[in-house]
């Protein structure tokens, strides 16, 4: 008998040999699911034949809570959605309230917002690089490198806003307080470290053949299918469609800064990783330009009403969140509380495409595919 397994198999008698599909539960308390996400995989040997996602373990009733608090109070809940980039969620919420009440935002406040939001985006993408590297098998190494840079960004956010993860720093009509005096110097310092950190992770992951081989050509998605599934953000851009809300439907001061939209070629897991990596450079580029262009003036609209009351109005405000289109559908019907606040969560929509994407792949690859979607459960479960 041969020592090679393939030859042994070809000689084996497979008549009357039946295998039974097995069900594997992954999560909700499992590090590979990036939060309290649970999926039930049906596997035939090593291959996934069906995937059933279960969400809602972190459902806090964000939309109901927004209805029973007034416009300014409710904002504090919103940076608990995408908690890796809380300021972006605050920006969307504030923009929705401003749209409803026709509040003008001073230009300085817009610059501050864009700068801090882009830093949050970098922060969130660092988290992706670290966690995704760990998913693929670099264990703690990529995590440690990513955390080093995230810590610096968090320190900077703390200096500006007083808190690291949930600053509640923006206000409808501007931001809560002005930038500290040495912000420009500190920010340039952090940016220098960020560029170095991205390069380090690039070398560690993209330069690793095992990493590349595991990710390349894995679970490719076509543009048409991605659109039909409602997938947005880096996952959509990795399929080759240069669609970024900062350019497609420009808001804030994004028309005044120069940046490019990185796109992928094949829409596979490797492209999703590369798009995010390239996006971090672009975000850092935006912050650099903002530092040079930021004007003086008010940081908060001085003519704001003390009690914000909004008559009948409706708006669907969308911004480019870290994971895709982050939309806030706000409906006001008089009074100082929103009548309805709906979050269009990019992670939620991207995750709904998961079961289709993992079928036909190995169990170990299913974890990588889930990681490549870069979900945040606070945002999925609301």
């Amino acid at each position: 008998m041969s020592i090679w397994p393939e030859e042994r198999l070809s000689h084996a008698d497979t008549e009357g040999f039946h295998t039974v599909d097995m069900t594997i539960n992954v999560g909700p308390q499992h590090p590979a699911t990036h939060g309290v996400f649970r999926m039930v995989l049906t596997v035939d040997g090593e291959l996934v034949t069906a995937c059933e996602p279960y969400i809602g373990y972190l459902h806090r009733g964000l939309e109901k809570l927004s209805e029973i608090n007034d416009y300014r109070q409710a904002m504090a809940f919103w940076d608990r959605t995408d908690y890796l980039a809380g300021l972006l969620c605050e920006q969307a919420y504030c923009m929705a309230v401003e749209k409803l009440a026709d509040i003008e935002v001073p230009e300085r406040a817009e610059y501050i917002r864009v700068m801090l939001s882009e830093l949050s985006r970098i922060n969130s993408h660092f988290m992706f690089l670290g966690a995704f590297g760990a998913d693929v098998g670099s264990f703690g190494t990529s995590f440690t490198y990513a955390w080093r840079e995230r810590e610096r960004i968090y320190d900077l956010l703390e200096e500006v806003a007083g808190d690291r993860m949930f600053p509640t720093y923006y206000r409808p009509g501007g931001v809560a307080m002005d930038l500290p005096e040495n912000f420009e110097k500190r920010c340039r310092e952090v940016l220098g470290h960020i560029f170095q950190g991205i390069d380090d992770l690039d070398g560690l992951l993209t330069g690793n053949e095992i990493f590349v081989e595991r990710c390349r050509a894995l679970s490719p998605l076509t543009t048409e299918r991605a659109i039909n599934l409602g997938v947005t953000g880096p996952v959509l851009r990795s399929t080759g469609l240069a669609w970024d809300l900062r350019k497609a439907e420009p808001y804030s001061i994004y028309p005044q800064v120069k940046f490019d939209i990185p796109v992928g070629l094949r829409g596979d897991v490797f492209d999703r990783y590369m798009v995010r990596l390239a996006e971090m450079y672009q975000s850092a580029r935006i912050v650099e330009q903002c530092l040079e262009q930021i004007p003086g003036g008010h940081f908060l609209n001085p003519k704001l009403p003390r009690n914000l009351r909004i008559d009948d109005a409706e708006a669907y405000v969308r911004i480019e969140g870290t994971k895709g289109e982050y939309g806030v559908h706000a409906v006001a019907k008089g009074g100082n509380r929103p009548y309805r606040m709906k979050l269009r969560s990019p992670s939620f929509c991207n995750l709904s495409a998961l079961s289709e994407m993992v079928v036909g792949h190995y169990v170990a690859d299913a974890i990588i595919i889930l990681g490549s979607l870069d979900i945040v459960l606070g945002e999925v479960d609301k």
Partner: protein
């Protein structure tokens, strides 16, 4: 009415030209064009918006349920066209107690989870939905928390400051 029509964006005229037979009432929100349509006409309108090459709404952005209390429920759809870059909002109002709507899962795969969420949060029934189970709530829970009539526990009771039983009976 004539004044209102003058302010409608050019997209309204494009839709009218492309779908002359569709029955809807155009309006405006702060951000988008809004088409108000009856539940029976919804599927025909969305199909037309999706298939007509001049409109080409290929992406379902969002779906929002709203409790209008005595006027029943409303569901709002946001569609987007990647080719033309335009957005439209569709509003469907259902009378109280009869919140049946056709499912859009046949047109947009993205509608699946959006509809499951709207169904559990508001009590919509999507006829023909392939997987009508709870999504965010527990699987056997038959409550609709985002209805305005859904009770909220006062924080004083939960913290034990005021008398009362903490928790709900469902």
């Amino acid at each position: 009415m004539s004044e209102e029509k003058a302010t409608l964006p050019p997209l309204a005229a494009t839709i009218k030209k492309a779908l002359p037979r569709a029955a809807y009432v155009p309006g405006l929100t702060k951000t988008d064009l809004d088409l108000r349509v009856a539940p029976a006409e919804l599927l025909v309108l969305v199909q037309g918006l999706k298939d007509n090459p001049a409109l080409d709404f290929d992406y379902l952005r969002n779906m929002t349920g709203i409790d209008m209390q005595e006027n029943g429920l409303e569901l709002k759809y946001h569609l987007y066209s990647f080719k033309h870059g335009h957005t439209v909002q569709i509003t469907v109002a259902t009378p109280p107690g009869e919140s049946h709507l056709p499912t859009l899962t046949g047109l947009y795969a993205a509608a699946n989870w959006h509809e499951r969420e709207a169904a559990e949060m508001f009590g919509f029934v999507f006829d023909g939905h392939p997987d009508p189970r709870n999504l965010l709530l527990e699987e056997d829970l038959r409550i609709h928390p985002l209805l305005k009539a859904h009770p909220l526990q006062p924080i004083e009771v939960v913290q034990g400051i005021e008398d009362g039983k903490a928790g709900f009976d469902f």
